[in-house]
Amino acid sequence: MASEGAVPWRDALVKNPTLNLLANLTLREVKGQYKKSVLGRLWSLLNPLANIAVYSLVFGILVRAEPPVGTNSGLKSFALWVACGIIPWGFLATGTSIGRGALTDNAGLLTKVYFPRFVLPTSSIFALASTFVTELAALTLFMGLAGGSPRVLLRLPVLVPVLLLNVAFVLGLSLLLSIGMVYFGDIQHIWGIFLQLWLYASGIVLPLSYVQQAQDKFHFPFVAIFQLNPGFQFVEAYRNVLYDFAVPPLQRWLIMLAWAIVALGIGALVFRKFSARIVEEL
């Protein structure tokens, strides 16, 4: 038995039923997601590629938006700049959309078996996070090549805490939304509309310099709104690493930390309060 204690987390995974369930449901999502298609996980890369192509064409070529220059990388490419925003944004948008349905989509399971309910939204976010990591890996490789330098690799460890905070934030939102969906079916549509607005309010497709211009023109604190927006902060953190080859500034870390704590805290509280009674509402 002493040898099993050597790797405590693995030991826990083998012996603890809840962790085992979390692992299995995550694997179910990951394996099930692309099982039906010939291209398998490649699909998860094609979707953002299509988005990058469209936004590059519309904003980069037709609107002629000026891309920012990468601080350390010296990169100046609208397509790459959009790519570094679209992929993290995809995690935020898809994550909250999948997490939102985690309870209502599994009504059959919830009404027949008891298990800790938080496992459902959590496993769907974890599964998506694993896809997201694949995308980030592909993006990192690409940015390294485009920047003509392996320096991006030096900043890679920085992505780990960014990712953790981001997962915590998305999970918190998903816990909240999944409970909301049980009581109000139309959250599905409302959230879809909200995501559309949020995309543009997070500076995914237009650089902050354009927002600054708008602020100067209309005398409205657009920039401050962007700064408070967690979507903007998380996406910019990824851009700091992948486009600028830099470490995000301290202020950004603090804002991300605050948003992660607030989202996860409220999400967990609400989930705890309501999850025992959701079965009869389904």
Binding site: L13, V14, K15, N16, P17, N20, L21, A23, N24, L25, L27, R28, K31, G32, K35, K36, N106, G108, L109, L110, T111, K112, V113, Y114, F115, G180, Y183, F184, G185, D186, I187, I190, A276, R277, V279, E280, E281
Partner: protein, 403 residues
């Protein structure tokens, strides 16, 4: 006395029945305030103790709250009031194969379903071969379950569920899955559970099955606990009461309540009698008389009377026509009358039965009057008390031999 495996302490559970079909944030904001709903009490002040190592049956009609109680025990539903505590590990088998993913292989699904049912990876590793063996899925274990036949699917699900090996197992009507051979295996497995001193709580409509399967039972009506105790006693009590709640009109309405005839004689009503009195129920073993009241409108020569008893499921248990024994009646003249058929020592087991009757005449092709399910009565437990089926046969056991 053995200690309690599950203690249900003063449990009440209500559901909200919303008046608006669809609830939405939009409607809530526009109307202001929460949706309006009616409260429906599925369980009211239920107090119950289930002892360790017993097989416990929960009985009740549809809507009696028995499944709600089981779900409360399984922690799927949370009671509004009261508490339920249990000792040891608990697993619920409310549906087999819950959470199977069609695209994944049988092997992956065993791990997935096992995890959903609360097993750790180490435990599933240990039991895996036994699960596959029990399911009889064999070489198909690495195929996606979407390619399984429905029988294989259910068997694999059942195999995983039964291998959870909990201290308390909650079962909802899943005793009848698979073919005969598989059912045999299941029965065996349940016997093993019992031998190992595990507690099983089962909800079922199959009361004959419950009689042999359970040690103790409880029955519910409209969310209230009506009785609890030894399975035999509770099941009899439940069966008697349940039959009584079906009125003759309801029973008759379930099947075609027919009346055809030439109009020369009409059957007015039937009477079921024991000990010289009209009754609505009799007991197995009673001497019973069924009396047919009729009105004769035109004279009828060489009349023939017939009686039938029909089971609630619609098959005719017994029929007797006066010509069977060359019994001949005098010609009928206009006016009212009645005729009896005497059944010594009622050989029917508890259940609800309906009476069919007919009047004919010797030498006539068509019947004069026929009525179906014109009257119903129930049979309650009496002597002898045999286990299952519709009839008692006064059977006995003897000559146990071994070696």
């Amino acid at each position: 006395m053995t200690s309690a495996a599950i203690v249900v302490n003063d449990v009440s559970k209500s559901f909200r029945i919303y008046r608006d079909r669809q609830r939405s944030l939009k409607a809530t904001v526009i109307k202001g305030g929460r949706a309006r709903y009616d409260e429906f009490w599925a369980l009211r002040d239920v107090d119950l103790e289930i002892h360790q190592g017993k097989t416990f049956g929960l009985l009740g009609n549809n809507g009696s709250g028995k499944s709600t109680l089981l779900k409360c025990m399984a922690r799927i539903l949370q009671p509004n009031k009261g508490s339920i505590t249990h000792v040891g590990r608990m697993a619920a088998m409310l549906e087999v194969g819950s959470g199977f993913h069609p695209e994944l292989s049988g092997r992956d699904n065993v791990y997935l379903n096992g995890a959903i049912l609360g097993m750790s990876k180490a435990e599933i590793d240990r039991k895996f071969d036994s699960i596959v063996d029990f399911s009889g899925v064999g070489e198909f274990i690495d195929q996606p379950v979407k390619n399984y036949s429905s029988g294989m699917y259910v068997r694999l699900g059942f195999a995983v569920s039964i291998h959870v090996e909990p201290d308390v197992l909650l079962v909802d009507e899943v005793l009848a899955v698979g073919d005969m051979a598989f059912q045999e295996k299941c029965t065996q497995k349940f016997a093993d559970l019992r031998r190992e001193g595990r507690t099983v709580v089962v909800v079922s409509h199959a009361i004959d099955q419950m009689r042999t399967f359970c040690d103790e039972a409880a029955w519910l009506r409209k969310g209230q606990l009506m009785g609890v105790g030894r399975a035999q006693d509770v099941i009899d009590e439940y069966a008697d009461q349940a039959h009584d709640t079906i009125s003759p009109e309801d029973a008759a309405a379930e099947h075609v309540k027919g009346h055809v005839g030439s109009g020369e004689v009409t059957i007015d009503r039937f009477e079921v009698r024991t000990n010289g009195q009209e009754v609505d129920h009799v007991r197995t073993g009673d001497d019973v008389t069924i009396r047919m009241h009729f009105t004769c409108h035109k004279p009828l020569e060489k009349p023939v009377f017939g009686f039938e008893i029909e089971h609630e499921t619609g098959f005719v248990v017994w029929g007797h026509t006066s010509t069977d024994g060359d019994f001949s009646f005098p010609n009928l003249v206009p006016g009212r009358g009645s005729v009896d058929v005497v059944i010594p020592r009622m050989p029917l087991r508890p259940g609800v039965f309906a009476i069919n009757g007919g009047v004919a005449a010797v030498g006539r092709v068509r019947g004069v009057e026929q009525v179906r399910r014109a009257h119903s009565f129930s049979v309650r437990r009496g002597e002898p008390a045999e286990t299952a089926g519709v009839a008692v046969m006064h059977s006995r056991f003897e000559n146990l031999a071994q070696g």
